[in-house]
């Protein structure tokens, strides 16, 4: 089920809130668990059983780990549990990738499995793995109650597209969490912000990307508009989803870690990745990079560690070579920055650093959103005028004019400028009163406008659903 849909907003959400706040404290997790299963089964009626199996295995092996008499046995249980989780992921997400590459390498024709990807499997597999590893490391205690553990895995606010919530971060909240008017108000505000980002901005930019793809007019300017539109689409889509997840979590008493922090204001790619999909970055840092030795190793080994992490980051996003290329592209940029460029960037004027980051993230996302490596190269050739196409055209100029205000508004909202201005106004006596009065009306207005877009059946995909 999509957050940005009428069934979620006006059927599921009121129903879950009524039940959740009506039952006593000890039943709240059970309510969340049941509704989360319904939420998942709504989009994946069959794969809910796969997720139930993943939960049961991880829960059982965690208990076995705690009962293991030796560290070696504990390690075996940990490896088996992680392998089972990743086996599901590999089978459903990567099997056809491996088969098609095997066929290409050998000339054989092993038939593809053509299995539909279970929604959210990359996210919940990583959450389950973090739980298993945290239990193994002794950072957390295994959950005795499978409903409480299941609630952690299937918790609907973050189930489909993150943020990747690590068990240690909400273990305490699963048993003891407070609900308050302040949390509910904050949660509602955050949810409405995310909903607005997704429906009003991400979808509009997504539509422009689709128009570009379907258009017969190919111009250099249109390619750059597409690149900019996709940058804004993926940011508003994914950060909007994270805002909605964090907001919903807060309504139900959970505090999830932030996932985005205005990544497009970064002055280096290193900084960009500290601000973009932070929960995935920290997961790879803690469960892959540091266990491999991090940077406390020889330079060749350190470079190897970086490329392993970025290979996996790309591969996590999709079972195709363009995702791997995208990951390695960032790995390369990060290595160049760490070895040489970062010092230069620190001294360079701010606008140079910003342009550098925006330029390479645009290139990166064009690779990311292509259909293949060949497609990525075609798109890049188009952007740099190497495809014998005109600079501009009638359709290009029409859409530039049509989306002009959206580009300006989207670019501003992707920076903290508006947030900071509102903060300054709020700090004054009169401004504070006006904002306190206007803010709830603003959120209600966003909800009404979003409802208009949803009722009209507008373009509404969620990019991160495919991961």
């Amino acid at each position: 089920m999509l957050f940005s849909s009428i069934p979620f907003l006006y059927y599921f959400l009121p129903a879950v809130m009524l039940c959740y706040f009506a039952v006593p404290k000890k039943l709240k997790n059970a309510v969340l668990f049941v509704f989360s299963l319904v939420f998942y089964a709504w989009g994946e009626p069959v794969y809910v059983f796969l997720m139930a199996a993943s939960i049961t295995f991880a829960w059982g092996f965690a208990l076995l780990m705690e009962k293991a008499k030796t560290q070696k046995i504990k390690k075996i249980f940990m490896i088996v549990s992680v392998c089972i989780s990743f086996a599901f992921l590999c089978y459903f997400k990567y099997a056809d990738f491996f088969i098609s590459n095997f066929n290409a390498a050998t000339g054989l024709s092993v038939p593809l499995l053509r299995i539909a990807l279970p929604v959210g499997i990359s996210f919940y597999t990583f959450q389950i793995a973090s739980y298993t590893i945290d239990i193994y490391r002794g950072d957390a205690k295994a959950k005795r109650n499978i409903v409480d553990f299941g609630t952690y895995v299937v918790l609907f606010p973050q189930l489909i597209a993150g943020p990747i919530v690590r068990y240690v971060d909400i273990a305490e909240q699963l048993e003891h969490r407070e609900h308050s008017l302040e949390k509910a108000a904050y949660g509602i505000q955050r949810f409405c912000i995310g909903l607005g980002k997704k429906v009003l901005f991400a979808n509009a930019f997504g539509e422009l990307c689709s128009i570009f793809r379907e258009s017969s007019e190919q111009t250099v300017l249109f390619y750059w508009m597409y690149a900019a539109a996709f940058m804004l689409q993926i940011y508003f889509d994914f950060s909007g989803y994270s805002d909605m997840a964090i907001g919903l979590g807060r309504i139900f008493g959970f505090t999830f870690l932030e996932n985005f922090d205005f990544p497009y204001i970064s002055k280096s790619i290193t900084e960009f990745w500290r601000r973009w999909h932070m929960s995935l970055g920290s997961w790879f840092r803690d469960y892959v990079y540091i266990p491999l030795g991090g940077n406390r190793v020889s330079t060749p080994r350190w470079l190897f560690n970086i490329f392993v992490v970025w290979f996996l980051t790309g591969f996590w996003h999709g079972a195709d070579w363009q995702f791997i290329a995208w990951g390695l592209f960032y790995g390369t940029l990060l290595v160049i920055e760490k070895i040489w460029l970062k010092k230069w960037l620190d001294k360079a004027p701010s606008f140079v650093s910003h342009i550098y980051v925006l330029f390479f993230t645009a290139i990166g996302f064009v690779i990311f959103n292509s259909v293949s490596i060949g497609g990525a190269l075609e798109d890049l050739k188009g952007m740099f005028g190497l495809s014998d196409i005109p600079l501009s055209g009638t359709e290009t100029l029409y859409y530039l004019k049509s989306y002009g205000l959206m580009f300006i508004a989207g670019s501003l909202l992707a920076t903290p400028v508006i947030k900071n201005v509102l903060k300054k106004i709020n700090a004054t006596s009169l401004g504070g009163k006006i904002i306190a009065f206007a803010k709830p009306i603003g959120f209600a207005a966003v909800l009404i406008i979003v409802t208009g877009y949803l009722v009209d059946g507008s373009f509404n995909p969620f990019l991160y659903f495919r991961f």
Partner: protein, 367 residues
């Protein structure tokens, strides 16, 4: 305002919207039909183990909730207004609003579609008309975007290229250019069609090519002032209703129209249709595969065959003076192979009149 008051205010305001619309949506009786969008609305989907496991229930439930949502038309208007005026986008659902009119973005020219249409017309000519008919006249009705779009910065299909294509590729027909005889005000503001009272010059040009005379004593009469065109519903903009005016005289009033599909006989103007979902069907009762109009006042026994789309419905009455019989064919609804059973082409005049919107998406023509 104290913080606590602000929190209460936020929670209550949003809760009233969500829970209020939730309750309204659950309690509201189902609607069958959307008048503004001219389409039936989704009903509650079939609920069974099978439809749940294959996902049909969930998919259809979303359509159902979207269709049956309380204040649906109002919410659609909110979206349209936000799209145009809050976000400054030039179009909504591919429709743009400029100079008080709504038009559809339709570009670029689809050359394959033109070729497909040309092949269908040529087949018709070779099968039924070659060596039989007196003459064939062909014309293209410009979409109103041709007049509105370019002048206001919207991309438009190359109408001149379309005219040139048919002029050069339908050697059996005389091409009549009517684009210079029309302007944007000759179309309904919120509908795709032209207004009958404003197309007499175009009709005269076609009649001249057919060597026939126009009516001289036509009277303008108001049929309805409650017309909401097809773009009204699609655009969801709160626009006023328009007038449908028709041109008539005693000769036109005496003509009878036989619909071969339904067997129903009506007049040239069908007043029952003014209450239908599309009042433009007032002209010749709307879409029909095959109609035959009999003109008892005609001074000769000439026969006119019109191949047309919906634009032809309103112009056809203006062409009938000199013809005792007018056959009106829409090959979107009847296979050309069947025409020989119903239409006698011997010594007939033939007019092929299609809108550029149809010709640019012509795969709807039957083979």
């Amino acid at each position: 305002m104290k913080k606590k008051t602000e929190y209460i205010y936020t929670v209550v305001l949003v809760a009233v919207i969500i829970f209020g619309l939730f309750a309204w949506a659950v309690l509201k009786p189902m609607d069958d039909f959307s008048e503004s969008e001219r389409r039936p609305l989704e009903k509650f989907p079939e609920l069974s183990v099978k439809t749940i496991l294959n996902g049909d229930f969930m998919e259809n439930f979303e359509d159902y909730t979207n269709d049956q949502f309380p204040l649906r038309d109002g919410f659609r208007s909110v979206k349209a207004l936000a799209q145009y005026y809050l976000f400054g986008l030039s179009d909504n659902n591919d429709l743009y609003y400029t100079e008080g009119q709504i038009a559809k973005l339709d570009f670029p020219l689809d050359e394959k579609s033109l070729e497909y249409a040309k092949d269908r017309f040529t087949e018709l000519y070779e099968t039924y008309m070659d060596g039989k008919v007196n003459k064939v006249v062909f014309s293209v009705v410009p979409d109103k975007g041709f007049y509105l779009g370019a002048a206001n910065g919207y991309p438009v299909m190359d109408h001149a290229a379309m005219e040139k294509y048919f002029e050069e590729n339908l050697g059996f027909a005389e091409y009549v250019k009517i684009s210079g005889l029309l302007d944007k005000n000759d179309y309904y503001a919120a509908d795709t069609h032209w207004r009958q009272q404003d197309i007499t010059e175009a009709a005269d040009a076609l009649l001249s090519a057919l060597d026939a005379r126009p009516f001289e004593n036509l009277e303008e009469t108001l049929a309805t002032d409650k017309f909401h065109g097809v773009y009204y519903g699609q655009s969801a903009l709160p626009l006023p209703a328009e007038e449908i005016i028709y041109l008539h005289n005693p000769e036109l009033d005496s003509m009878t129209v036989m619909n071969f599909e339904t067997g129903k006989e009506t007049g040239v103007y069908d007043f029952d249709k003014l209450e239908s979902k599309d009042p433009y069907e007032f002209y010749l009762s709307g879409a029909a595969a095959l109609l035959e109009v009999n003109n008892p006042s005609a001074e000769s026994d000439r026969h006119l065959i019109i191949f047309r789309d919906s634009f032809g419905s309103s112009i056809a009455p203006l062409l009938m003076r000199d013809y005792a019989k007018i056959t009106i064919v829409d090959t979107r609804y009847i296979a050309p192979a069947m025409l020989g059973d119903y239409v006698d082409f011997e010594d007939a005049d033939v007019l092929m009149l299609y809108s550029s919107l149809i010709l640019n998406d012509s795969y709807i023509f039957k083979k």
